[in-house]
């Protein structure tokens, strides 16, 4: 391997600063790659399909919570990470789509009769599907062109993230047989974010 010339290091960091997407999108996809690798090497345990499907759902929910937390984070700490909203939002959509694909393809082997019954009868499935459907227009308009074209309507449209989060939260809660110490912290974080978002500012102490 050749040694880098001395001036190359600051150049790389400058490139990374401008093109952080090239780094952060692949990093965000590491859990998915890791899960597939584990799945193929027998490291997901006795019921690999179930673990794979549930882990993808959990990663979708994690990215959703991070995405939603960025606004309150700026408000309460002054730390402005709002530029990562698109990154975390698109990763949420990426994992939610893989989660659906795992459920349809790996878990049920594209058995349409079972899938149809699930999607028309089971509120647990309907809630999760609805959350994902709400995310579709958000993913499709997560680009500069849509932002320009939709103007003020873009902001209105992207408030769909809140009903999607509520539906996803109930779906997540129902994916366990009872409330437990794994699901409770995630649900508490979601509740807190929603509370901050929807309580009038005067009641929350105006940005403390």
């Amino acid at each position: 391997m050749q040694a880098l010339p001395p001036h190359a290091v600051p150049e790389i960091s400058g490139v990374l600063k401008r093109h952080w997407r090239l780094v952060l999108y692949p990093i965000g996809m590491i859990p998915a790659v890791w899960l597939v690798w584990q799945g193929q090497h027998g490291a997901l345990g006795a019921d690999p399909v179930n673990v794979f499907e549930r882990s993808l759902g959990l990663w979708a929910f994690r990215f959703l919570l991070v995405c939603l937390a960025l606004v309150p984070l700026r408000r309460f700490t002054g730390l402005n990470l709002l530029r990562y909203r698109r990154l975390t939002g698109l990763l949420t959509f990426f994992y939610a789509s893989l989660h659906l694909l795992a459920y349809v393809g790996l878990d049920h082997g594209f058995d349409l009769s079972i899938l149809w019954a699930d999607m028309t009868h089971r509120y647990f499935i309907i809630l999760g599907m609805s959350a994902l459907i709400l995310l579709i227009p958000l993913a499709l308009t997560s680009n500069a062109l849509s932002l320009r074209l939709l103007k003020r309507r873009w902001k209105f449209l992207h408030r769909l993230i809140y009903p999607a989060a509520i539906l996803a939260g109930i779906h997540f809660f129902l994916s366990f047989k009872t409330l437990n110490s794994v699901s409770a912290p995630y649900l508490a974080i979601l509740a807190l974010i929603l509370l901050i978002r929807f309580l009038p500012r005067s009641q929350t102490g105006n940005g403390i």
Binding site: Q40, A46, D47, P48, V49, A117, F124, K177, T178
Partner: protein, 312 residues
């Protein structure tokens, strides 16, 4: 001069003579289960193949002992194996009381030496839509109930598990809303069915802690949660007893909980099941679930005339 090198066990790893001698006497059939008391490791059981064990290929032992629900040790399916090492299954007394003419107190260490222990290779279908095949070693429940001589008024059997939060960390989990002890129940005729087994072992060895040591119920035509583990008390009653999962979510888990591919769980289909043991993401199998888990011939008569959709 030594030509070959081979790994020699350390002196400390070699089984002491008295221990392997006692194993030999076990194999010979003599009672020598003294090493059993308080032992964390499984000891072999004297067992023989019983009826109803069809041509089924058992699930790998590693999966049976490392993937199961036992909420007393935690909610994840790896938790029972990971958090049950402090549990002391012996000594243990099993009580059979209630509407019986001869209440029984059984010393489980004696029960483990019973020549009545037989192997039953059964399908196990979890309500969560996965399944295994498990070679149990146990005694038909009917044998023990007959010894207690049930009163004619008795119609149901209630089972009660143990409460020992110091050894069962899951019993300290406040969020789940589960009331301990875990309780289960059967109709008396279900309990007396020759398929119903009181299991003392799996794979020819005593039950590991995580699988319900020292003894548990196995009702192969019902969903797995009916198989209450680490049973302390069996009571005969003249009414249907409360059961843990029915108490938690009555619209999702019925008293009967018979395996039925036509009656779905509110959150998922019961028509098919994931077969445990593939260990490969893209090679995993799903198979159709059988009515009464394939034991209709033995048990369908118990439910003749009943609406199984209502009595799910």
């Amino acid at each position: 001069m030594a030509l070959f090198r081979y790994p020699r066990p350390l002196p400390s790893e070699i089984t002491p003579k008295e221990m392997y001698l006692s194993r030999r006497s076990l194999i010979g059939g003599a009672a020598a289960l003294t090493t059993l008391a308080g032992a964390a490791n499984a000891a072999s059981l004297k067992t023989h193949l019983g009826p109803y064990s069809r041509n089924l290929t058992p699930t790998p032992k590693e999966d049976v002992t490392h993937y199961n629900n036992f909420y007393e040790f935690g909610m994840d399916k790896g938790d029972p194996a990971a958090h049950s090492q402090d549990f002391h299954p012996l000594p243990w007394t099993l009580e059979i009381t209630g509407l019986v003419r001869k209440p029984v107190r059984l010393d489980v260490e004696q029960l483990l030496r019973s020549p009545a222990i037989e192997e039953r290779i059964y399908r196990m279908r979890c309500v969560e839509a996965w399944s295994m095949v498990i070679p149990w070693d146990g005694i038909p429940l009917a044998t023990l109930l007959k010894d207690a001589d049930p009163d004619p008024r008795a119609t149901h059997v209630a089972f009660e598990s143990i409460v020992r939060p110091s050894e069962m960390p899951g019993q300290n989990e406040a969020l789940s809303g589960i009331q301990w002890p875990y309780v289960e129940g059967l109709r008396l005729d279900e309990a007396m069915n020759p398929l119903t087994l009181l299991a003392l072992g799996i794979y020819g060895e005593t039950l590991p802690n995580q699988n319900g040591a020292p003894l548990r119920l196995v009702v192969p035509w019902k969903y797995g949660f009916k198989g209450i583990k680490s049973i302390q008390r069996i009571r005969l009653l003249d009414h249907e007893p409360p059961t843990t999962w029915n108490r938690l979510a009555p619209d999702e888990y019925g008293f009967y909980a018979n395996v039925n591919p036509q009656v779905d769980h509110p959150r998922w289909s019961q028509a098919t099941e994931r077969v445990i043991g593939a260990h490969s993401l893209f090679g995993a199998k799903r198979q159709p679930t059988l009515m009464f888990n394939g034991y209709g011939e033995q048990v369908a008569d118990l439910y003749r005339g009943m609406d199984l959709r209502k009595n799910f």
